[in-house]
């Protein structure tokens, strides 16, 4: 070998090594970058929790757990409590579920169990998914100007005839009330239940259904005794996700609950939710009041986190069972 050739070879070597080095650095750097970003995305949740709690600290120190059972909200005297809002939040969500669960499951059954040909079920499924996309402020606006006047006579009639029942009692309903919020919420969360339940049914093994049918069960006996029990965890988690959404829905509650700062057991009367309280008071709040609103936000966060984490765990367990 001549020295020229050797030089050439070694220079080639160096070149390749250099090139490999830089592309390796780029490669490793890229992978690390994505790793760091995904870790940050993971801790974003913790960051949100910590920051909100930190901002709520003055109110937490001042009011402690009494905040949860006090029903006065008085910015002048700096006395704050969210009992009415906790009642309103839980009540509106639960009543919304009472409407939305049967509606959602019924819709899911219609869409999966071959009642209608594909060219009917596919567009219907799409239309129902569109409901989720409607901005909540639009639904709130619709609630104020369309739904409230439309249901007022019905509410009055129910109120007249069932005054003895605490949930429907009180003076004649005028407009904003917890029940209206529940109605709009149920429209909003119904598609969530329907779509998750639907994919649960679709993911169940075909054999289950065929087996039941072959044993002589009718279509509805199959659905009620085989499909629903088999898909129960999917249905339960869909209900919990829907509940999480209902608990945290802000604009609808702020616009049509009436934002009344007192406990009205009756659903026909104006009430308030945690989200509605925060939305309607934050603008003109003083220092301690902002902190108290943050505290209310922390309470809401705990409620939704419990519901969402449970839903997530149920879903994951279900997925593991499938595999």
């Amino acid at each position: 070998m001549t020295s020229a050739a050797r030089d050439f070879e070694s220079s080639q070597d160096i070149n390749i090594e250099k090139k490999m080095d830089s592309s390796r650095i780029l490669d490793v750097g890229f992978v690390r970058l994505t790793l760091v970003l995904s870790i940050f995305a993971g801790i974003l949740l913790i960051l949100v929790i910590l920051q909100t709690t930190e901002a709520a600290l003055p109110a937490i120190q001042q009011f402690g757990l009494e905040f949860l059972v006090t029903s006065r909200w008085n910015p002048v005297e700096n006395i704050f409590g969210v009992l009415p809002q906790i009642y309103g939040t839980l009540m509106t969500s639960l009543v919304a579920l009472v409407f939305a669960v049967p509606l959602g499951i019924g819709t899911a059954i219609f869409l999966t169990e071959d009642f209608a040909p594909k060219w009917i079920t596919v567009p219907i499924g799409f239309a129902i998914e569109l409901i989720v996309a409607i901005p909540s402020v639009v639904l709130g606006l619709w609630g104020i100007f369309v739904l409230i006047p439309a249901v007022r006579p019905i509410f009055r009639a129910i109120n007249e005839s069932m005054k003895w029942f605490p949930l429907f009692g009180g003076p004649a309903p005028r407009g904003p009330s917890l029940l209206i919020v529940s109605l709009v919420l149920s429209i909003m969360i119904c598609p969530i239940i329907a779509s998750i339940t639907r994919s649960t049914f679709e993911s169940l093994p075909r054999n289950l259904r065929d087996g039941a049918l072959a044993l002589g069960a009718t279509r509805w006996e199959t659905i009620l005794t085989v499909m629903i029990p088999a898909g129960l965890s999917g249905i339960v988690s869909s209900i919990m996700l829907a509940m999480g959404r209902a608990l945290g829905e802000t604009m609808v509650a702020a616009m049509i609950s009436g934002n009344a700062n007192r406990i009205n057991i009756s659903l026909m009367q104006p009430g308030s939710t945690i989200t509605g309280l925060i939305a309607s008071q934050f603008g003109e709040a003083g220092r301690l009041q902002v902190s108290a609103l943050m505290y209310a936000g922390v309470v809401l966060m705990i409620l939704t986190l419990v519901v969402n984490v449970l839903a997530e765990i149920v879903i994951r367990r279900f997925q593991n069972l499938e595999q």
Partner: protein, 295 residues
């Protein structure tokens, strides 16, 4: 033998004749209920769409889209041009923050960290974050940004960005999972690095689905008023100051809906129509794109 056979046959006969009608009728009744559920849902959807279209279209014209609500409340004038500009500012900030961030994080979850414990935890946390109410994203941005520097379009962008991030991550990850593993293997087999495979093969292949996911996330976020109420707040004038309060479409719709002046309420309906149209168009487009890629 023949006796017992006859006996069984008779029993069956009795069974069928007494139970068949009940099974039949209850079946029909339940089918009716199930169809009723669908009808109720579709009816409420069309009721909302109809009212928003009917009320919104009155005030929806070029003048309103470009002017601002300068005249005092109660006067028959004004528009929401300033709110559209404000919404654009907030949304672009949110997009600049959450798009690159979300896509790269999703690349890790789908390409490099698939199946690891870390990816599992990140996904878990993102799913829970998706369920966190939008208003809490607003409180978070308030605590982080607004307490220091006051209401601003920028803080609204942060709140909306936090809201969008888990959605962007999830939709991008789903888009990446649609890319066939063969393409990755072929690319690595030809000697590409992981960076080259991701940038030249995986991301371009998944691009239509990723972009659709981004558009849907943006359209959904555009309709959210809750995180903006105490971050970008509101402003009755033209403002292009990223670090000052701006009006946005959803917040304007909210404030105009709860004041008792008819002209403002009409503007609220028009704003609602714009929001609704945006979201519906985005959802419809995504529907067709996703359909195409799945085929």
């Amino acid at each position: 033998m023949s006796d017992s056979a006859r006996f069984i046959g008779e029993e069956e006969k009795i069974d069928i004749s007494s139970i068949a009608p009940i099974r039949n009728y209850s079946s029909r009744f339940l089918t009716f209920l199930s169809i009723l559920c669908v009808v109720v849902l579709l009816a409420s959807l069309s009721w909302v769409l109809w009212d928003v279209a009917k009320e919104g279209v009155n005030k929806l014209n070029w003048y309103n889209l470009t002017q601002i609500r300068y005249p005092a409340p109660g006067l028959e004038d004004g528009g929401f041009g300033h709110a559209i500009v404000g919404s654009l500012m907030v949304l672009s900030t949110a997009a600049v923050i959450s798009f690159p961030f979300g896509i790269l994080a999703a690349v890790y979850l789908s390409e490099f960290g698939r199946g690891t414990r870390l990816a599992y935890l990140v996904k878990f946390s993102c799913n829970v974050l998706t369920g966190v109410p939008a208003i809490l994203c607003g409180l978070f941005a308030y605590a982080v940004v607004v307490r220091g520097s006051g209401f601003s379009a920028f803080s609204g962008g942060i709140a909306t960005g936090v809201l969008m991030l888990p959605i962007v991550i999830r939709s991008t990850e789903e888009a990446l999972l649609l890319v066939s593993p063969d393409m990755r293997l072929a690319s690595v087999g030809l000697g590409s690095t992981r960076f080259q495979t991701t940038m030249r093969i995986v991301l371009p292949t998944a691009a239509p689905a990723i972009v659709t996911g981004l558009i849907v996330a943006l359209a959904r976020a555009a309709g959210e008023a809750a995180p903006l109420l105490f971050t970008s707040f509101n402003n009755n004038f033209w403002s292009t100051d990223l670090f000052g309060p701006v009006a946005t479409l959803p917040v304007m719709t909210y404030f105009f809906a709860i004041i008792p002046f008819r002209p403002q309420q009409q503007l609220a309906w028009a704003g609602a129509l714009v929001l609704l149209a945006m979201v519906l168009v985005a959802s419809t487009i995504s529907r067709f794109v996703v359909h195409k890629t799945k085929k």
